[in-house]
Subunit: 225 residues, 2 copies
Amino acid sequence: MSDKIMEDLSIDCVIFGFDGELKVLLVKHGEGISKGKWALPGGWITYDESLDEAANRVLFLLTGMDSVFLEQLRAFGAVNRFPDKRVITVAYYSLIKASDYELMPGFTASEVRWFSPSEIGELPYDHREILDYAFSQLRKKVRQEPIGFNLLPEKFTLLQLQTLYESALQIKLDKPNFRRKILGMNLLVDCGEKQDNVSHRAAKLYRFDEEVYNSLKEDKFVLDL
Amino acid sequence: MSDKIMEDLSIDCVIFGFDGELKVLLVKHGEGISKGKWALPGGWITYDESLDEAANRVLFLLTGMDSVFLEQLRAFGAVNRFPDKRVITVAYYSLIKASDYELMPGFTASEVRWFSPSEIGELPYDHREILDYAFSQLRKKVRQEPIGFNLLPEKFTLLQLQTLYESALQIKLDKPNFRRKILGMNLLVDCGEKQDNVSHRAAKLYRFDEEVYNSLKEDKFVLDL
C-alpha cells in the first residue's frame, strides 16, 4: 500500500444521524487552512484505494465511525471551490442511527459532534452546497423506498415513524394522512401490544413486515409499468 | 484560460439517442493506448473548467454535439480501472433525440456513430460498468418522471410512446396495461385526429399536457406524503 495522496481529489462525507430527530455530523478541523472551523468530515484519496475505500477510511480516521454504509452522491468540481489549488471532491452520504456509534475525533479533527440542521452555521469550501444536495437526495430516497429498519426500535409507534419521516423530509406531515398512506402500504404489522410506562395515552406498537419492506426497497417506482 | 489538464481525472459521457429505438453513441479512438477501439466519448479535465464544462467541451470536440443537457451520473474510481496510472473518471449521461444532432468526429476520435445496445462489443477500461450504470439510472428516471417531450413528434400514437418506454427500460411492456396506466396519469391529451398515410389501421394521435408533464417532472414520488 502506498499512502501517497492524489493532490487534486478529495472525499467529503455527509452523515445523517437519527435519534428521535435528525442530526448532521461535523468535525472541527485541528490543523490546516480551515483550522478551528466545523466542516463535513473529509480528506484526501490515496493512489492505492478505491473511492469507496477512501470514504470509509477518512470517516473512520476523523470520527471513529467504522463500517458505515456510505453511498456516493456525486463529484463536486467548481473551479474555485477550494482555495489555492484545484480540488475536485467526491461526496458520500449515509443515514444511520446516531446511538449505534461512538464518536472519537482523530487525525486532522480536534472535535466531532452531531449538529441539528438549524445549528449549522457557515461551512467552509462548498460544504453547504454538498450538504444541501445530500438533503435533497435524502428526501428523494425517503419518497422512493421505505426507511426505518435500522433507525427505529424493533417495535415502534406510528408517531415515532412519522417523526422519522418528518426529520428526513424536513417538513411537518398531516397525521391522519400519513397514517392512512403508511398503513395502506401493508408495510407495518400490528404487534397487538401497546406502549407501557408512558404518561400519555399508550399508543399501539407496530413492526415492519420484513418481506414487504425488502420488496418495496427493490421496486422503488412511481410509474409501476 | 489554461489548457493544462488534470492528470488523474477524466470525463466519460453516455449519450442515449432515441429515433424509434434506443441507441448509444460511441467514438473510435484515433490515437493513444486504445487506438482503433470503440468507446464512450471521454477526455481530460483542464484546471480552468468545471466538471460540467469539461463534459460539454469533451463531447463537442469528439462528436460535434453541442448544447447537450448532460447530467452527472457519479465518479468511478476503482484502483485499476485505467492502465498505467491512476485515473478517476466522472461520468455524465443524456437522453436525446438522435436526429436533432449532426455527428462530426474530431479531436482524438476518428469516427463517431450510434450503436444499438446489442451491437456493442467489448469496451475499454470500465466503460461497460459505466454504460450499465447509465442504463440503470435511465430506467430509474423513466419510472419516476415523464419522458418524451423532446423525443417524440408533437403528435404521437400510444404505440410510439410505448416503444419509447420499452427502449428506455429495455423490456417488453403489456399493451393494454401500459395504455391504462399512461392514460390514467392525465398526462396525454387526445388531439381528436388520427394518423394519415399509414398502411395499417390509423391510430389516434395524442400530445402531452405540458402543465401535467411539468408538474409530474417535479414531484417524482412513489410515496406521495
